[in-house]
């Protein structure tokens, strides 16, 4: 019988959403349009339209050694041209954000090639070759993985994941990188490290509370689905906990 990955346990909507994001066969729903230039502006690694700085010559000119692994693995476009490795970092609010930091890392590892994802408490970073990163970032921002109010693109000073929301439902941001404008759209006025942008970048309207609660991947008993409500997830976690406690890393039962 062919192996069919299950991704994560649970019978609730939260668990189903988690499985969807991790499943590469699931097509992410596009919610908003964002231009390539806007993605470059928010990340702040280079000026829009400028050439990609490189760290090594193109592979075609580098004279690579004969290596069977190099023949097997097709390099990414960015690796072929010798692009720098750059990053995008997200913070997701505990209050029903569509994604959460660990899930972002699982998703990036499963869905994308040549990325180095990492989760650090309330934030998640994806590192990749610059031109490939821009494509990935565009997908992450324009689809259901992102909500303009409850998710934030923050390269530093990421505080906000576990805090209360602002009065207007935006996640707290110490550097006020984005604002909820009068037309009810969220605009980035600073790049991800807090440097002011020449022009604001519109990332669209925040999703409403009903949509967020239906699409969240965070268990939250305070208004959403509590973890204790998901019997299957609890049973799975308890089984893993029990096996690891009893047998360390080599469970045999």
């Amino acid at each position: 019988m062919a192996y069919k990955p299950q991704f994560c346990a649970g019978t609730t909507k939260v668990a189903e959403n988690r499985r969807n994001f991790m499943n590469p066969a699931y097509k992410l729903q596009k919610i908003r349009d964002i231009s390539d230039e806007d993605v470059v502006l928010i990340m702040g690694h280079r000026a829009p339209g400028s050439a990609y700085p490189t760290t090594h010559p193109p592979l075609s000119e580098a004279g690579e050694p004969k290596c069977p692994v190099r023949k097997l693995v097709t390099p990414l476009d960015g690796a072929k041209t010798g692009d720098r490795v750059r990053y995008i970092q997200f913070t997701d609010s505990y209050w029903f954000a569509p994604m959460h930091p660990y899930l972002r890392s699982y998703m990036a590892s499963i869905r994308y090639r040549g990325v180095d994802p990492g989760t650090l408490s309330g934030r998640q970073i994806v590192e990749c070759r610059e031109r490939d990163l821009e494509k990935i970032a565009k997908e992450l921002i324009s689809t259901e993985c992102f909500d303009p109010a409850r998710s934030g693109i923050r390269g530093c000073t990421v505080h906000g994941h576990s805090l209360r929301l602002d009065e207007d439902g935006m996640m707290f941001d110490m550097l006020a990188r984005r604002i909820l404008d009068k037309d009810k759209t969220v605009k980035y006025v600073k790049d991800q490290v807090g440097v002011p942008l020449d022009k604001p970048v519109n990332v669209g309207k925040p999703m409403d509370e009903k949509w967020l609660k239906a699409h969240t991947t965070i268990y939250n008993s305070n208004g959403g689905t509590g973890f204790r409500e998901d019997k299957e997830a609890i049973e799975f976690i308890q089984t893993i906990h029990s096996l690891r406690t009893k047998y360390g890393f080599m469970p045999k039962e």
């Binding site: 390269g155 000073t157 805090l163 009065e167 707290f172 006020a176 807090g194």
Partner: protein, 156 residues
Amino acid sequence: MTEAIFPQIRIMPARFLYPETAEKLLNGICKVGVVRRMTVNGPRLPPTITEGPGRGLPNPHPGRKVIHVGGEEFELQVQVGTLILELENSDAIPVIRQVCDEVFTNFSYTLQEGKFMKSQMTVSDYAKYGEIEDKEMLGMSDPKGKQCPIILQGTQ
């Protein structure tokens, strides 16, 4: 040591307050006129970027704003999240609850009675600040901080 004979309350709104709402709430509480001591807590809004490649650059933030409370003017340095008050007597608590009801119309809040202010120094306090002379200021603000506590004259 401060005698904990005065009632203390903690107001915690469900959302972080913008300066306009905080100003409205503080003025409402100020009018009640029985507050002995008060601390406003919340995450800090630094005037400059503290980390990353933009370190040292100005950090304009809509939450860092000058507000007027009880005739005094001061700049908020935090996004207001929690207020801790020490009152003259507990008769004023229902009045303060009414003020909160009027201000927090779009979201909920909790108002708790208990002991929320420090009444004696900890070992860490001794290590960091030495002996704090004014016991009324214990735990209210950073004794080595540049900003002094604000004294509201009130109505009494």
